[in-house]
Symmetry: D2
Subunit: 435 residues, 4 copies
Amino acid sequence: MIPRYSRPEMAAIWSPESRFRIWFEIEAHATSALAEIGVVPKEAADKVWEKGRDAVFDVARIDAIEAVTKHDVIAFLTHLAEIVGPEARFVHQGMTSSDVLDTCLNVQLTQAADILIADLDRLLAALKRRAFEHKLTPTIGRSHGIHAEPVTFGLKLAQAYAEFSRNRERLVAARKEIATCAISGAVGTFANIDPRVEEYVAEKMGLAAEPVSTQVIPRDRHAMFFAVLGVIASSMERLAIEVRHLQRTEVLEAEEFFSEGQKGSSAMPHKRNPVLTENITGLARMVRGYVVPALENVALWHERDISHSSVERMIGPDATVTLDFALARMTGVIDKLLIYPEQMQKNLDRLGGLVHSQRVLLALTQGGTSREDAYRLVQRNAMPVWRGEGDFLTLLKADAEVTAVLKPEQIEDCFDLGYHLKHVDTIFRRVFGEA
Amino acid sequence: MIPRYSRPEMAAIWSPESRFRIWFEIEAHATSALAEIGVVPKEAADKVWEKGRDAVFDVARIDAIEAVTKHDVIAFLTHLAEIVGPEARFVHQGMTSSDVLDTCLNVQLTQAADILIADLDRLLAALKRRAFEHKLTPTIGRSHGIHAEPVTFGLKLAQAYAEFSRNRERLVAARKEIATCAISGAVGTFANIDPRVEEYVAEKMGLAAEPVSTQVIPRDRHAMFFAVLGVIASSMERLAIEVRHLQRTEVLEAEEFFSEGQKGSSAMPHKRNPVLTENITGLARMVRGYVVPALENVALWHERDISHSSVERMIGPDATVTLDFALARMTGVIDKLLIYPEQMQKNLDRLGGLVHSQRVLLALTQGGTSREDAYRLVQRNAMPVWRGEGDFLTLLKADAEVTAVLKPEQIEDCFDLGYHLKHVDTIFRRVFGEA
Amino acid sequence: MIPRYSRPEMAAIWSPESRFRIWFEIEAHATSALAEIGVVPKEAADKVWEKGRDAVFDVARIDAIEAVTKHDVIAFLTHLAEIVGPEARFVHQGMTSSDVLDTCLNVQLTQAADILIADLDRLLAALKRRAFEHKLTPTIGRSHGIHAEPVTFGLKLAQAYAEFSRNRERLVAARKEIATCAISGAVGTFANIDPRVEEYVAEKMGLAAEPVSTQVIPRDRHAMFFAVLGVIASSMERLAIEVRHLQRTEVLEAEEFFSEGQKGSSAMPHKRNPVLTENITGLARMVRGYVVPALENVALWHERDISHSSVERMIGPDATVTLDFALARMTGVIDKLLIYPEQMQKNLDRLGGLVHSQRVLLALTQGGTSREDAYRLVQRNAMPVWRGEGDFLTLLKADAEVTAVLKPEQIEDCFDLGYHLKHVDTIFRRVFGEA
Amino acid sequence: MIPRYSRPEMAAIWSPESRFRIWFEIEAHATSALAEIGVVPKEAADKVWEKGRDAVFDVARIDAIEAVTKHDVIAFLTHLAEIVGPEARFVHQGMTSSDVLDTCLNVQLTQAADILIADLDRLLAALKRRAFEHKLTPTIGRSHGIHAEPVTFGLKLAQAYAEFSRNRERLVAARKEIATCAISGAVGTFANIDPRVEEYVAEKMGLAAEPVSTQVIPRDRHAMFFAVLGVIASSMERLAIEVRHLQRTEVLEAEEFFSEGQKGSSAMPHKRNPVLTENITGLARMVRGYVVPALENVALWHERDISHSSVERMIGPDATVTLDFALARMTGVIDKLLIYPEQMQKNLDRLGGLVHSQRVLLALTQGGTSREDAYRLVQRNAMPVWRGEGDFLTLLKADAEVTAVLKPEQIEDCFDLGYHLKHVDTIFRRVFGEA
């Protein structure tokens, strides 16, 4: 997470101020719950809320206390006591630091997930709009980077839409994974704190009570969360690479928007580079790179060790801020993407009709030729075209073995572009529910 | 995937014989569907089934053909034509190799997922049985490897049970992710094959039709699948490390079963080592190691490139076979785990009562001492005990500042083990639905 | 490691037969050393060599013994005793299994490294040959996938040559890292075995004595080794992606050799796909995927735990066999690469002279224009060309602000291709030591 | 990289101010070189130095320009022109942004490497001091977490010393990998800039000239650098885990220093946790997590794409700052480690003499018993001791089959601790060159 690739709303979740505010809420709600079941005086809980509700927690002061105690929650509680006064001794009764830290982290992650879900919704909207705009814009489909058969540009975007719809579902599930609260005490036994406190705080913080915790909320939940971010990042990389390919000089079927005043290169004034999607490609590597540390965080020792903490202090913000930035950037790329249908048509025509080779193959087999012979016939007429030696249709019509099976009109029929687009509506209905 | 860490049922899914059998079924069902919609003669479809249903596909023969064509599906189709005869030319009409390959891979992955789900069920059953057996066996809870407060051994297993229940849910979801079928032709447009064929084959193979494919089924699905295997592996590592810790010479609260005739060391005949859980720890690293290649597989070029294929030929079997083996091994470890309650009690008593420090802290604050003062009082009596200089209870009773707040009986009350177990039933009900 | 992506010489290193043969040699040399320093009878050492030198170790028999003892080295020693007779009791005196296992693994890894180094030498030779062949074949250099300025095809290959030369150096260093031998007993203290035995065996096996071992040779050595394989794999991916880009239909400056009888697609007979380099791209992901498990293997507990073992049983063969296969395949690709200079020239000309924009920029600044103004002048003439609206040279000559600084001949001079090739020899001399 | 885990000296390398200062030096040296070979006026070069040498580059101003140009180097050059005046047009002649960016990154990485090497030297010094201090302090060696045979605490530290000595060598080599400079123009051909400029700047900046670059310095160099950081991190994890194990309540042979006023737990005042080494364990995961993105950065497209840039903007600081912090923290842990020889001795005695089982085994075989029989005899006397049923020495003396071979004194001789320490000096001499 660096300012260059951060957006303020997501970054704010991870500020010390936000963290201390959430800590306060957890502690204050827990004190209210304790008051409700009669463990601490109701007046104490009221006092905590009264003094703390609008308090500004002094980050520097808390840091100074931590420098002595070497314990962040104790430092915060000490500072809170300075604000609240003697009633502060009823705060944190029977709780352990992790009750606060883990519940807070999960609040932050659910907030981050909410932003990311909204990001995905915006990206989906952009993809859908452009997909319908180019539903029937023909373009060559490529396998192995080699021309295969025609598709439409809208279909390409429909594929991305379907992929990011899956990612949205995964993220909603991942959000649920980490939306839990634990107030279960030092080793998760509720020895010093009633399970009702956990339920109370969970409900107030919009979380579910963790069914069984140790000192901490189990980290398989977080591993799953970050793994899903890694999958989303990989889908981002796929879409980014698609745009980068389309913008290649030789292809140039689409281009990132190039703004007034922008400079592509300090040395070469002619350049217009797909720098946004290249940037997203790199950011995807980073988000993916956080998956393994998150997986390694699962195997804590016994009822917990604290090795996960430094990892989460870094990947919590790093992964969510970076993905948020990349998603927003990608949405902008799609929204403003310059799309060149003429160039698509020009590329489609480039292979001298070879993209229709399969139809000829099928027509031959339908006409009684064995699959193996048909393949041989088509391939021997295709290879010269590949080398720039002639036109596919002409060559086929001049091949006696071909014309023994197919009439010239039948061969010509195989070269119809519309043939390839007849099921586009079917696919759009599958993906968008409409066509 | 090596024989040493393979079990036959899972390994069989990945044999060439299984693959060719699934290929045949996909091709034959597709031919039936083509016959149903009138594209190929019904007799041809019948002949394919008649000749192929019980055919033994000759792996060596197929390999020999592939050595020439450098294309595995073409090699199979050529061999199939040798078996079926002239009607074979109606097979694979309008399909592309990936229709067969990708649908087959997903069949294999769902079969593998089914075995893994059954593995998890057996592990869950073992965990539950041992958890109830030791529901109230007291043992020390440890944070940071340091004695914290009492828990029960059953609680440790309940935590594992809850974690693996989550893993089961994740795997069921991941199975659904990859249970799709694509018969959509060269670039996914259904240009040469009717979408009804896809729907027909999907239903026959127990899959859902992929809403939109390119030449291939999108690899975010597979990335998600392997990511979930990586999360399960990490949970396995956690449980394995717990057992390894418990078996440490100084702890020795539990031990892997040591069979008659087993030798722990070639040099040291006294050794009994936790080799099974150490092995699982290593296997977890491997399964986790397959996550990143699976994520890198997502960003194929345009409508597909084939870079994912070599990765999947390796991690398909490697990840599923290894995890299956590890899960079965772990189930055996839990089932036969030697558990030593006396040693647990002995360890519990080792810290001279320090594990009750929090209760004393809370009693002091309840008695009116500030949290900070209470902490200081308890800590100053704890540190000598830590150094082996005295017994915690005795020291507390001799501390005037403590006894100014708490009566001797109140201090003694803080040293009650039962106090820590009072909510075990609550937790069990949350986890198992019963206590 | 699967047969499809294995070559026999490398695979043979990892066969059980090879392993048992190396074990025998280690044990027999150690017995000789023990005899030399008088710990065991010389006759015993002689007998071990005499009986074992040409013995065929029965893998099935050893497996059967291991099924009981659950210890592979003990199983081997038991079998060896069956072959050698009573003198076998002098074998393995004071040694621990890891002395044998770890020294054997390092022998295997150095053998594998030797093959990989030879692989690199062949790849380097191919790169050099083709680089000199196309030293002065002009082609467009691309940054961001966008035409930048001219380079030569030989330069591209010279870059690859330099990169793989570095990889060769890294591999030589990595080989040295793992070329160590430990015969230091149960916990590395030489309590039961004289350090001279280690030195003797090390020398005989072509290794260095490990300065200090625990029960095992420290795994940072192996981590480094596998990390280097991961770097080499990443360089392979780079070169593979270069070829895949060059073979794209729209670029087609080079192509993988396409053999007689080969079929590019089951559906589309016209296809010629870069399947070898796509395959290498996938294999690179696998080799890279083994780096993290190797890194995770470093932190063994205390004097060792055995979690590294299962990892190494898999990645030892997987990483070396896969990289060997990929290197050999890449050498074939480079050796037989079809290179199309005419197409390179055609692509060079595609941008209507824009690739010379920098020279015009520099000429303007040399003529007294500020950098910022010069940039603006060049960019405003470049953008129409980019959109296909006119020729760069013509536009520049018609721009009054340009011609105020540069004469028409000066502008024309900026469009000289030879200008870009003047330092090719310098670079070749740096890379190859000759030009 | 977060402030919590940063040290100022390393963090400063990565500040915008440092970056712009290095950019200036590269540009100014290049201008001097251009002046020397007569391409630009000498006065211009002098002016650049004169105005820029002590200039404070205005980060906010540069950011503002970049907001328009979307190009950081152009923004800097524009700002530099504001400082230098008209002569600024001679700056950056024939160079491309990457010449500046890549050379700067490598300067930063070499500076970072120098700090890390110094960190390693301090850690090595601490390890050596404590190793000699405890050269002969006996402690139990453990394999699989199970008592094996005696070692000394100094030996443990000697092993760490040897490992970190290797890491130092690796880092020195990795520093050399990235200590290169490229001033080779837009696509590395030196078309617009003489190779002598590169050589001049390289020498001034303390780097070597990159033999052949594209637009960028090849990223296999950086991949190797970050891979080495990942190996060092893994060694850190190993040492951290060793300390954590030693501090476990049941083991307690060593402890992290616990400062006055420190609090181990908010809930349990008795706690003293190995939080520093747990923290290092987590930081190691992070540094390791940066290896894969660095490897993925190698395969840039053609002469470069910019996807590596965002990755490096993050992992450059993240990996070096985090590792620097972890190394410094580890040095502190080792320097102040509380070491408890009495507890080591107590643990050594815990297994009732079982740790001498191998000596008995060897004595029996030396006495003529077969290895298999000897193993059986020793194991049958060891297993009851393992269960706490008796003392090993007593049982052996009561076993008729044992005493048929060994006299009581011979058995007693096997229980001598000194026997295990006789080669400690040998090992120390190997590791430290002295004993």
